[in-house]
Structures are given as structure tokens and as C-alpha cells.
């Protein structure tokens, strides 16, 4: 599969390495070139330094051929906007975004998968505590 990962933080970098190791085509975008340096030997995909909100950057990442886009930056608003953009303008099959603030879930259009980090952690902690 052709997968575009937006945001190369702790989650994005590990996910990119794993998927790349499984033989998928992975492109990682981050606005900070230093963040992209953490990708280790297992990663043999492409890295792009740039703002994912820019159509130019998305096109350079091959958005037209992408099967999956994961929006995983630490910025909720950026994740929401980029995810909606790639769904609406490029009709990417699978769009997944990470979010912290559940009150913003409502504005995300249908067909975009939302993973709420806070809710997820709360559930895990609850399982451990109770």
C-alpha cells in the first residue's frame, strides 16, 4: 500500500518504520527536518520537509496515488484540516487522524476515521485501575 504519514513524532516515526518494514511504500512529511532524522535503518521510504497544508507538498508526496493518509501531528487543528482536505480534494480511500480534544470531533466529515488519544488512554488506564 501507498501510505502518507503526516507528522514524524514518537507515534508517526515508529508507525512509519513498522509499515515500511512490512514492505509498504511510506512517505513521511514533517515541517521540521530534524524530526525526520529519527527514522532508523528499517525505514526505506521517502521523507519530505514541508507544511502538509500546502497542496504543493501533498502533491510532491504523491497524494494522488495514496491509499492511506495518517494525520498524526501534535496539532489537533492541523490534523483535522489536512485530513478533511485530502478526503475532499483527493478522495483518498482511507484517512485517519489523531486528535486530543474530543469536542472537535463533530466538525470532521464522515468517512474520516478519528482516533482520540485522550479517550484511548483513559480507557486503557481504567482497565488497569479497575
Amino acid at each position: 500500500m501507498y501510505i502518507i504519514m503526516i507528522g514524524c513524532g514518537r507515534l508517526g516515526s515508529v508507525l512509519a518504520e513498522e509499515l515500511s518494514g512490512l514492505g509498504h511504500n511510506v512517505v513521511v512529511i514533517d515541517k521540521n527536518s530534524l524530526a525526520l532524522d529519527v527514522l532508523g535503518e528499517r525505514f526505506n521510504g521517502i521523507t519530505i520537509t514541508g507544511d502538509a497544508l500546502s497542496l504543493e507538498v501533498l502533491e510532491k508526496a504523491g497524494i494522488k496515488n495514496a491509499d492511506v493518509v495518517c494525520s498524526l501531528t501534535g496539532n489537533d487543528n492541523l490534523n483535522i484540516v489536512v485530513a478533511q482536505l485530502v478526503k475532499k480534494m483527493f478522495d483518498v480511500k482511507k484517512v485517519i487522524l489523531q486528535i486530543h480534544d474530543s469536542s472537535k470531533e463533530e466538525i470532521v466529515q464522515k468517512g474520516v476515521k478519528i482516533i482520540n488519544r485522550s479517550t484511548l488512554f483513559v480507557e486503557e488506564f481504567k482497565k488497569c485501575i479497575l
Binding site: L53, L55, N75, N77, I80, V81, M89, D101, I107
Partner: protein, 220 residues
């Protein structure tokens, strides 16, 4: 009208003042506590300190009663989310947002912002026009630049110099408004003769602007 402005920069503050003078109700929202307290000390505006891209903050500002929400922050993603929350959660009928990166204009339209304002491009276009040629001046742009009122100086070399109005074929969607001759304003009729030194005021659609200028000034 009730207007919410998110992001108090120079534009936000100036706009709020103007709207208040026109008897509109205005609430300002900004993340930065220092900016908020400074404005609170010097004016009697309604200010809310908080992240305007959070539904709870917009709710506190009574966004459901707002006629217009204006997003003027420095971040394009924030302006987009503010507009979407205003529209989709609070049913605000008109959203206006500042586009910080001119390349993002298309993104704003795609994501449902009613009026994206790309101030960088607007400014750049004005400077370009002023700098390029002096025979032609864009006086006013209406409808976000789709229609303009222009002033063109007629020189001896102009293709229309010494012609009567009835013999000049204007492009469609372009009309002659008046001719400035010295201190006089001449209302053009069919038999009015254009002469060098005249200044022509016309209205044109943006698509026909170049055609009109070529007709009046000659090939650029």
C-alpha cells in the same frame, strides 16, 4: 449584527472599533492573556481570553447568536477550524477567514469558508499595479476583485485618441463611466470625442480589464 472576531491583531482591533462605531455588537477572542488585558484596560470592548478554535470558547461567546464569525489568527489551520466549528456546530451563516499563506486559498474554499481573505495577494497586486504602468490605475476593486473601477490616461498614441465614443467598440462587460478633462467631468455621449490628455473612468470585469486597457492605451 452580532460579530465574533477571533485573533486580535491590528486588523482585528481596527475592525472591532469600526464595527462598534456602526452600532454592531462585537466580541473579541484571543489566546494571549497579555493582548487581552491590554485591550481591556484601554477600551470597553467585550473580550474573551481563550482558544477560539475550541467549541467551548465559542459557546461562551454565544456563537449560536452570531451572524458572522471572523477568524484572523496567524495560523491557517486554526482559522479553518474556527470557521468550521462556527458553521457546523453553531450554525453561523457567514464565516470570514484570513489566509496567511496565499497558496492555501484553494484549501479555504474547499473546506467551506465563505469569504477567504488573502491579504498578501491583495497587497501584492496593488503594489504591482502601482509599480507597473502609470497610464492605468485601478481605483477600486469590488466583489473581491472581480469587478474594478479603473482610470486610464489617454495619450497621443492611444488607439482611441480623436475618436468619437460611438466609433469605439468596448469589450463586453466593460463600460465607460465618464471622462475627466482638465477640471471638467464630461458625461460621455455618442458624439463625444476622446482627446489626448483626457482621463477615462470605466468599470470592467476582471477578465476584460486587460482588453479594455489595450483598447484605451494600446498594446502593452
Amino acid at each position: 449584527m452580532y460579530i465574533i472576531i477571533v485573533g486580535i491583531g491590528n486588523v482585528g482591533f481596527f475592525l472591532a472599533n469600526k464595527l462598534l462605531k456602526d452600532k454592531h455588537k462585537v466580541t473579541l477572542i484571543d489566546k494571549n492573556p497579555t493582548v487581552c488585558s491590554r485591550i481591556a484596560q484601554t477600551s470597553s470592548m467585550v473580550i474573551l481570553q481563550g482558544d477560539g478554535s475550541k467549541p467551548a470558547v465559542l459557546k461562551e461567546a454565544k456563537a449560536e447568536k452570531a451572524n458572522v464569525v471572523v477568524a484572523l489568527t496567524q495560523q491557517d489551520e486554526d482559522n479553518l477550524v474556527i470557521s468550521q466549528i462556527a458553521k457546523n456546530i453553531f450554525g453561523v451563516s457567514r464565516t470570514i477567514a484570513k489566509v496567511n499563506n496565499p497558496q492555501n486559498v484553494k484549501v479555504f474554499s474547499a473546506l467551506g469558508v465563505d469569504v477567504p481573505i488573502d491579504s498578501t495577494s491583495i497587497l501584492a497586486r496593488i503594489v504591482e499595479e502601482e509599480a507597473s504602468f502609470t497610464d492605468f490605475i485601478n481605483l477600486l476593486s469590488i466583489k473581491k476583485g472581480r469587478l474594478s473601477i479603473v482610470r486610464v490616461a489617454v495619450s497621443e498614441k492611444s488607439p482611441v485618441a480623436n475618436k468619437q465614443i460611438k466609433d469605439i467598440v468596448f469589450p463586453q462587460d466593460a463600460v465607460l463611466v465618464s471622462i475627466l478633462r482638465g477640471n471638467d467631468v464630461v458625461i460621455p455621449r455618442g458624439d463625444t470625442r476622446v482627446s489626448s490628455g483626457d482621463e477615462i473612468i470605466g468599470i470592467t470585469s476582471i477578465e476584460k480589464e486587460k482588453e479594455l486597457v489595450e483598447l484605451l492605451v494600446g498594446k502593452l
